[in-house]
Amino acid sequence: MTNTDWPLWEVFVRSRRGLSHTHAGSLHAPDAELALRNARDLYTRRGEGVSIWVVPSAAITASSPDEKDPFFEPAADKPYRHPTFYEIPEGVKHL
């Protein structure tokens, strides 16, 4: 392989302990190890992170916009999953 086009990686950064990794952006790197180091240099040079994941962009399977309705509408239809669905008498605490 003499291809010089390094593959694309998606970068996820945990900004501090207790939070989940969040998508920060993407970058090019020849392999996972350099992707991780490039991500460290690029996305955390102001101390923005305590942990980094890199994932080859090609490995991500995304929901397609066409599937938007069947994918997400059923969820919108189940308000009982959300705490505000339930009426609690006033004055009841710790619920």
């Binding site: 180091r37 240099d41 040079r45």
Partner: protein, 244 residues
Amino acid sequence: MTADVTLDATTRTAALALGDDALVLSHRLGEWAGHAPVLEEEVALANIALDLLGQARVLLSMVGDEDELAYLREERAFRNLQLVEQPNGDFAHTIARQLFFSTYQHLLYAELAAGEGPFAPLAAKAVKEVAYHRDHAEQWTLRLGDGTDESRERMLRACTALWRFTGDMFQPVTGLDVDGAALEAAWLTSVTAVLDRATLTVPEGPRTGAWTAGAGRQGLHTESFGRMLAEMQHLHRSHPGASW
């Protein structure tokens, strides 16, 4: 920043040696800005240069005014290793220089950080930065050594060219209480391991020469260094006493 007058003369000599190493290598790495082989390396090389410049400022400030020391000393008064002043060359030369120096600096600072001497606080912070510099150099040595025929060839040339400057690092430095022989043995083990993994051979030439054994520490430098200083100091020297 002003000098800490409580430091004794030998400590200040050592601070100057370490500070000059960091200052000069930082300057060389700064020359890469806008010329790196890939954008990601622009960012990586600048990170390393900034770490080194930060170290240099702390160390020089232990000795005197950082700017007076950086900008108003003549070539013969600089105490840095000849290794760090070597021109960038191609990316392989820069990486070989980084591998040799950061391996040394990492071992040295780890030892200083573990001790209780005047450099312990600085070394404790710097050793983490330097660990990353060493890792960066190692990663690239592996890729260039075991990449294409061309990259391997360039990496071999670079290691060979810089090898003669590496013995300089283990000469005794006044004010630095470290075991040079032990440092050298550890350095050789570490560098050999990386070169082996990179399918490169350890250069065979001498690691010290008539002009290299401890020369940089005594103010003897190579020709390109004077030109580097001329560029670095020109503006500052053109405006005596000015503030920036």
